[in-house]
């Protein structure tokens, strides 16, 4: 590392260490953040307290409207520390409603993009079927807005993005990850519990990150940008993604590519995670692409 690189390393402000509200505000232009349905509105989950679980006043999702490099965006952040970022009735409805309102404004001539901070284990089991239903509504709302304005997904922390919300991540216009973060449908513990340790050893951290980790997801094209855990770097990556606008074809529409990718792999003898990018014909990327 050069002296300049060390200096920039020491100058970093960790994004991961911020809570969801701070993350949302850190992405927006100074003085433009306007939080909606915040803690003082006290729209809590109606299902937690009766089950003996302490609710959070904003149900673990913050919705902050503002400007990012002068463009209108709504940042929707999941608070990973509350119930593992689990999506319940209220938190899921909040995400879906905010996306739909951004779509409404975009249709009416006020383009409004969305940034989703996706730190979650998936559906909150204390709200089971309503959580599942709202995740379907979140997916529908991502698709509604995505046709008009970018929906930029960010997965920053080690909790990662799992469960049904990983499907919403797959629908995002652009997906930004850090090397610390993870993305997958089912977490290692769930797979080990369902299928046994021979299928997935949930204590094998190198294995987990070799499959679900941000570096691998970007290398294999399941995410778009690998960014350092730094507020400035993430902010500039998100702003860049918003600037790029709506692509001609979204990742989740590239069915032919998905078919080719599945045909390229023998599921009985899958490649090592490190070989997958090459099997799929993805160019090797260097660490220099970070940032």
């Amino acid at each position: 590392m050069t002296v300049t690189e060390w200096e920039s390393l020491l100058d970093r402000t960790s994004f991961i260490e911020l809570d969801a509200r701070e993350r949302a505000k850190a992405l927006l232009d100074e003085g433009t953040a306007d939080e909606l349905c915040g803690p003082f509105d006290r729209i809590e989950s109606p299902w937690l307290e009766p089950q003996g679980v302490v609710p959070q006043a904003d149900d673990g999702v913050v919705v902050v409207k503002g400007l990012l490099d002068g463009r209108r965006v709504v940042v929707i952040g999941i608070e990973q520390a509350f119930q593992g970022g689990g999506i319940g009735e209220v938190s899921g409805a909040k995400i879906a409603a905010a996306l739909s309102l951004a779509a409404r404004d975009s249709r009416a001539g006020t383009p409004t993009a969305a940034v989703l901070l996706l730190e979650t284990g998936g559906v909150r089991l204390q709200e089971a079927n309503l959580g599942l239903a709202t995740v379907a509504e979140v997916c529908a709302a991502v698709l509604e807005l995505r046709a008009l304005q970018p929906v930029v997904g960010v997965i920053a922390g080690a909790l990662g993005c799992f469960g049904g919300v990983s499907i919403a991540a797959g629908l995002c216009t652009t997906l930004i990850m850090t090397a610390e973060s993870r993305l997958g449908l089912d977490g290692p513990e769930v797979i080990e519990s369902e299928a046994g340790i021979a299928e997935f050893d949930a204590s094998d951290h190198p294995l987990i990150w070799s499959i679900d980790g941000g570096t691998q997801r970007v290398r294999t094209g399941l995410a778009d940008a690998l960014v350092l855990d730094d507020v400035t770097a993430l902010r500039s990556a998100v702003a860049g993604a918003v600037r790029q606008g709506v692509p001609a074809e979204h990742r989740s529409r590239r069915i032919g590519e998905l078919r080719a990718r599945l045909e390229a792999v023998d599921p009985a003898h899958p490649p090592a995670p490190s070989e997958l990018a090459a099997v799929w014909g993805r160019p090797a990327q260097s660490e220099g692409d970070q940032g």
Binding site: A93, A97, G131, L143, A169, G170, I191, S193, P270
Partner: protein
Amino acid sequence: MSRGLKWTHALADGAVHDVVPSVITAGCTLGDDTARLVTVVPDPDSPFHRARAGEVGLREGLAIAEAVTEVVAADERLPDGRRRPIVAVVDLPSQAYGRVEELLGIHHALAAAVDAYATARTAGHPVLSLIVGNALSGGLLAHGLQANQILALDDPGVVIHAMHKQAAAKVTLRTVAELDELAKRFPPLSYDVGDWAKLGLCDELLTVENAGEPTGADLTKVRNALVAAVVRARKGPRDLSNRLNSPGAMKTRAASRRIHEELAKQWG
């Protein structure tokens, strides 16, 4: 023979086709329409060993996306009101839990299926779900929950949930008996389809004579219900807002409705 397979064959006008061995499609006359049925079925010989019992895995996600997209592309030039209904016949234990699934990005394959169904819905195709058996978790998200009309059989063999009971007990550190007890007090936790129908997500709960072996009367009843659902879908919204405005949702999803109202108010 799985319930999904039986109902698909029973409802099909003629031949049932494989997109892949685990995803089948068929034409089905519904009034003036010929709907396309799409069903995930077990494939004991699947090379994906975690997706042999009817789970929605990588190739199932892809095959659903292909089958649905094909219908949308074929009907592209038809006027809105003539676009074919698509019926997801749902009988699936879950998504496929496996290592190769995660390696290859099963979330992405399921996103392709979700995208395809939602695209069909917004293009004006009535997208219907007919739940005849189990409908769990990510599997249901990929195959069922993007529909603008959801019908389910009122039968103990129909279980709709975010996670199967044993796993849910483990994760929430409760016994199965405790979960059952909780489910009596909290409808979203219940494994009973009658309770699920009260959440506001179900457009019609259908009582049949034999959910496992549909009788002639059952088929007539379900077909009529599907025809009525097509009419409602064509008249109704193309987003999922009907699930928030249904009589069940008025009661059970009061908090969701409050969020939508309050957020719209503060949004300006």
